[in-house]
């Protein structure tokens, strides 16, 4: 089988393009200009029934240009690196800026805020895996998964993907920063059948460094266990009960905290955390911080989308909200200082407790273990939270049976304060790292 001819992403070329755009913008009358360029390439394969189903090669690039004329802004993007194309884009951005309004908070970061001395992080770990090897590994994974239990009827797909990218940000204060980045993943999606009932579940591993991926055979076995474990799912009676969000789902719960404390929501007053700095929003034992330089962190970056140095912010200490996550624009709106969070939080770390999932179950004794959530029933303005769920009913600290077609509801403010414990079973497969979270009491709707 053939492989795609390697097309190198050329850093020198991107730097030249970015500086050329800056020149063009100045010529066109822009007072300030910023450019971000990303170039990506990679491939993914998926297999099913012991053979390859799809091979997809990815290779793309994007240039985003933002100009300021006074306090007015205009943005354009193109996917083509030719000078004719990006010169036209600069002119289009300047044209737009004639029609936007004077925004007192607009403009680049102040020069002093820029991360000129950003650290050189090692975020790129290319995977030498060939397409043929990826297919063979996936086929083997599928076979291991389907052998695990007779009730597994098929794999929806077993897939491997690998990608590398180069990101560059430059602005007219003379900042130019760049870093290469890789991301690899393996996943296994299975379907189990018992009588008329069919259930689907999956498992995956993802990392910057292929050496840190879990083994395909482990992913396959875990997916098999999860999928079969769902068979025989029942509904629950409508009730109030304690709830454990398994680490994977606790991550999405903490993701809601990140959104609610993000500058872009706060200045628009569309968060329940407006005016909450210095207030207690989590229990005493909780500390939530950011570690942007984490060696194997999927969210690691040296600088943020404004070119501001990423830094180890402490957002929550002993339960008290100490800082919001701000970029330059939202910080100006709120009359605060940027925290280097334009574009988001880079590795949010929820300090783990000392209990593993088993002992968390024992602590809960009787209640619901949520392993998958559905829908996006969250109102971040009010904190009202109501989402579909499936998982397991727990009694005597032990899993009793799978449950589905229920909802869990609460108010995020109350849920955060009602966290009884955080597990030490930290899920490292995302930009938010947390263990499972036990919440004292939530409303469960079912029969």
């Amino acid at each position: 089988m053939n492989t795609i001819r390697k097309l190198d992403i050329n850093l020198d070329q991107l730097q030249i393009v970015s500086q050329d755009i800056m020149q063009e913008a100045k010529k066109a009358g822009a007072d300030q200009c910023e450019v971000s360029i990303s170039a990506n390439k990679g491939f993914s394969v998926s297999v099913r029934n012991g053979d390859v189903e799809k091979i997809e090669y990815h290779q793309d690039k994007a240039i985003e240009i933002n100009v300021y004329i006074g306090k007015r802004t205009g943005s354009t993007s193109v996917t083509d690196l030719s000078p004719a194309s990006y010169k036209a884009a600069v002119l289009a951005a300047c044209h737009i800026a004639k029609f936007t309004g004077e925004d007192p908070c607009g403009g680049l970061a102040d020069k002093a805020e820029l991360g000129f001395d950003y650290p050189q992080l090692t975020l790129a770990f290319p995977w030498s895996l060939s397409v043929e090897e990826a297919i063979a590994l996936s086929v083997e994974g599928e076979s291991i998964a389907l052998q695990a239990d007779k009730r597994l009827m098929s794999a929806e797909e077993v897939a491997i993907g690998t990608g590398e990218s180069l990101y560059l940000y430059a602005n007219s204060h003379g900042f130019i920063g760049h870093y290469p980045h890789t991301r690899h993943e393996m996943s296994c999606v299975l379907v189990a059948k018992q009588g008329e009932e069919m259930q689907r579940d999956f498992s995956y591993t993802t990392a910057l460094d292929p050496m840190r991926l879990q083994k395909m055979s482990d992913i396959a076995k875990e997916a098999a266990k999860k999928t079969v474990g769902r068979l025989g799912a029942r509904r629950l009676k409508t009730m109030r009960a304690p709830v454990i969000f398994i680490a994977e789902e606790a991550r999405s719960l903490m993701g809601l905290f990140v959104s609610a404390m993000s500058g872009s929501r706060l200045y628009k007053k569309s968060s329940f955390l407006v005016d909450h700095l210095g207030k207690k929003i989590f229990p005493d034992f909780m500390t939530i911080q950011e570690d942007p330089y984490l060696a194997d962190g999927l969210g690691s970056v040296p600088f943020d989308n404004d070119g501001v140095l990423a830094r180890p912010n402490i957002f929550v200490q002993n339960g008290v909200l100490e800082s919001y996550a701000l970029g330059v624009y939202s910080a100006r709106q709120l009359k605060l200082k940027t925290t280097g969070n334009a574009g988001g939080v880079h590795n949010l770390i929820v300090s783990p407790g000392d209990k593993d999932l088993k002992s968390l179950l024992r602590t809960m004794d009787k209640g619901l273990l949520v392993t998958e959530m559905m829908g996006n029933g969250t109102n971040l303005i009010t904190g009202d939270y109501s989402r579909g769920a499936s998982g397991f009913w727990v009694e005597g600290g032990e899993i009793q049976y799978p449950v589905h077609e229920i909802t869990v509801a609460g108010k995020l403010q109350d849920m955060f304060l009602d966290i009884v414990a955080v597990g030490n079973d930290v899920d490292v497969r995302g930009g938010i790292r947390t263990g499972s979270v036990l919440i004292g009491n939530m409303m469960i709707a079912g029969d």
């Binding site: 090669y57 004639k98 029933g377």
Partner: protein
């Protein structure tokens, strides 16, 4: 259609300098001496813009150009895919070389002679970006902002946006399909926040379709959206806790049709059914819904957001009856999937862009009108929920479980609409829910043109609709 093809060839290919002979050569390389059943090239260019107003200021404007070509080779169940965002011969050849690696050597396929299938004209080939001047665009946003802020002093935040896309596509396939389409798409959104006694709530409304910006100007439609958003925010400010548990739910007409999209639509997409992993697999000809339900996926509606003249494989779209009087009639397919299932494509092969593979997707999915009046339906419920507006939804097509979250809803008590309740999640099981539809209204309405459907990481614009519907049992995820 020939005119459109000529226009598209001129706009899309002429600037690249690629000749027909060269494209033919690429297709030949794709299928020649390989066990390739089908191959296609998908050229696309997309020009899009958006304007946004916040805090009474035009905060931003953006203009984006994306152009490229997707290259696909299909060999039985296998698909090889690559793309290039430079439409030049070396990139195209490299993509073809990569895509065909899926198929083994051997075989002797040839490309069918090109033919045009007759396609519809569901929309006009306008460029919506040019339908208003820049000054008119920003003025429209400012007028809506001023208009709505005057209406209620409790408004503390208004965000209004206008967006348009001018997309041109060309499909060249080894089965002889040579088709093109020019697809306009516009969108208007408003969201606002009101505050009273320290309590804040939001409202949201919008609309759009395959036409130009004049649509929002005519009939003051943009102001109507603003009124709708304000109404929703006020209702939600007064909302009480929703009940928790299983109860009758009356779904209003229009956008609540997202129920059908989640509960039935995805489960009837051919890819899942070929694999036998949908809750609806193997059930063609069976009663899967109450006899009151007829559900269609119709890509041919004039000017609708989910409509297409041709799908992204060049197949003209159709009005596909999915469920008729409760009986499951067909699945939605693309070319590859139809071939594997021994059928012909239903015109549902869609892709987000040239950088994505096509797969079976919905267009405009709705339930046809019944005979009950909406009042009669509400009167029939002793205690339940009347939900008129929704946020998004999600489905697990294998177990059939789906959710969707209410954005505006009321209690029904003794057949009368009562207090507004908070926007909680509804959860159900697709095949069950449809059998529990006991009344269907005579008030079919389609949504205002705001739907975007996500599947496998790909987003495409869709439409939904339905008349007022009574579901005897749905689980309401409230707090009481």
């Amino acid at each position: 259609m020939n005119d459109i093809l000529k226009t598209v060839q001129h706009d899309l290919l002429d600037p690249t300098g690629l000749t027909d002979a060269q494209l033919q050569q690429v297709l030949n390389e794709l299928i020649g001496r390989r066990q390739v059943d089908y191959a296609d090239l998908y050229f696309q260019s997309s020009y899009s813009e958006s304007w946004i107003l916040e805090d009474g200021i035009i905060k931003g404007g953006s203009f984006d150009i994306d152009r490229g070509v997707g290259v696909r080779a299909v060999s039985g169940e296998k698909t090889g895919f690559a793309y290039a965002d430079d439409i030049v011969m070396p990139a195209l050849q490299q993509a073809a070389y990569a895509a065909r690696s899926i198929a083994k050597q051997g075989g002797e396929q040839s490309i069918q002679a090109y033919h045009h299938s007759p396609a519809h004209h569901c929309y006009t080939a306008v460029n919506p970006l040019h339908s208003l001047s820049e000054t008119q665009k920003v003025t429209l946003l400012q007028e809506v902002d001023r208009y709505i802020r005057q209406k209620d002093p409790r408004i503390i935040q208004v965000s209004v946006s206008l967006a348009a896309e001018h997309e041109t596509i060309l499909v060249m396939a080894s089965d002889g399909c040579l088709s093109a389409d020019i697809r306009p798409l516009v969108r208007f959104n408003i969201s606002l926040i009101i505050e009273q006694n320290g309590k804040r709530e939001s409202g949201y409304a919008g609309g759009g379709g395959r036409f130009d910006y004049q649509y929002f100007v005519e009939n003051n439609l943009s102001m109507q959206y603003a009124d709708e958003a304000l109404h929703q925010a006020i209702v939600n400010l007064e909302a009480i806790e929703a009940p928790a548990g299983t109860m009758p739910v009356v779904l209003g007409p229009g956008w609540p049709g997202i129920l059908l999209h989640e509960a039935v639509g995805h489960g009837l997409e051919g890819d899942f059914n070929y694999k036998g992993i949908s809750a609806y697999s193997g059930r063609i000809g069976q009663q899967v819904a109450s006899p009151l339900c007829t559900i269609v996926d119709n890509g041919t509606l004039v000017n609708r957001r989910g409509s297409l003249n041709i799908d992204d494989e060049g197949t003209p779209t159709q009005n596909n009856v999915l469920i008729e009087n409760g009986i499951l009639c067909r699945y939605m397919t693309d070319k590859r999937n139809a071939k594997l299932m021994g059928q012909t494509s239903t015109g549902n092969g869609r892709r987000e862009s040239y950088a994505h593979l096509p797969m079976p997707r919905m267009t405009n999915t709705y339930m046809t009108a019944g005979t009950s009046s909406p009042e009669e339906i509400i009167r029939s419920v002793k205690k339940g929920i009347y939900a008129v507006n929704f946020g998004g939804g999600q489905v697990d097509i294998t177990s059939g479980k789906f959710v969707f979250s209410m954005a505006e809803a009321y209690l029904i008590e003794d057949g009368k609409i009562g207090a507004p309740v908070k926007g909680v999640t509804l959860i159900g099981n697709g095949p069950d829910v449809l059998t529990k539809i006991s009344m269907v209204g005579n008030d079919l309405k389609l949504d205002s043109g705001v739907g975007t459907c996500g599947k496998d990481g790909q987003s495409v614009p869709v439409g939904v609709g339905q008349p007022t519907v009574r579901v005897d049992e749905l689980t309401v995820g409230g707090m009481k």
